[in-house]
Amino acid sequence: MPASKTTRSRTVPKSFRIDESALDAVEKEAAAQQVSANTLVNQILTQFSEFERYAKKISTVKPSSFVFRGLLDAADVDKIIELAKTAGSSIPQAFVVAKSGKVDIDSLLDHLRSLALYAHLYEYSENLDPRGDVITMIHEFGLNWSIFLVHYITAMFQQVGLLPKLEMSDRSVILSLPGK
């Protein structure tokens, strides 16, 4: 899994001078979580290197889950579909090109994982099988979010000439990809 791989890649010693109040906050949080400050700092830097520095390039904002759900529920379904198609055909590509320099199935799947890891847009599960991968996304944002995801992911994979099979309910989207 790329996220684990990156967070567990080789470590190197490095010295920095950091703001005292920031260090105090990190040490307090580390104590509360019962982990080392080293672990916490490493995860903070990984989140920046893997997600935040690319997310800011596409002007990402972070509404609360309550506001996000409320906006989705209030939105017109046709507008959601239109937005999903537009976003899915441009945003993932911009993100993965900035991150990996290429747009292919693996980089797009990495994008879907990143949205679970760092944006909390759903919980993510993948069964990687030579006969065909199955990815399940479970969320609590209602049917309109599933509709958005289905059209966003469809448009995203169309960019690499793939038409995935998608199923949805009001709390999940299941993506099936053909075997390699």
């Binding site: 899994m1 996220a3 684990s4 967070t7 567990r8 949080e29 979580q33 019962q34 982990v35 672990t39 916490l40 995860q43 903070i44 990984t46 989140q47 994982r113 679970a116 890891l117 760092y118 909390h120 919980e123 993510y124 599960s125 993948e126 069964n127 990687l128 099988d129 030579p130 006969r131 399940t136 479970i138």
Partner: protein, 68 residues
């Protein structure tokens, strides 16, 4: 019929809240079929690698809810 020798692999990302993080890693590692667990305290998620022929992600999620 040709069979691919590569076994299926399962990976999952679950939200840590509201399940909480205390003991999640050690408890999940006791479950048969779970190969690796990594708790990300900054992202508030737990990443799990598992054998999908032995355990399903829904079962792992259910176990985490019991832990909370």
């Amino acid at each position: 019929m040709k069979h691919d020798a590569t076994p299926p692999v399962g990976n999952a990302i679950f939200s840590l809240h509201p399940h909480g993080s205390s003991g999640v890693e050690s408890e999940l590692k006791k479950i048969p079929g779970i190969k690796d667990v990594y708790v990300n305290y900054v992202a508030d998620v737990v990443e799990v690698t598992f054998d999908p022929s032995k355990i399903k992600s829904e079962e792992i999620r259910g176990f985490m809810k019991k832990l909370a």
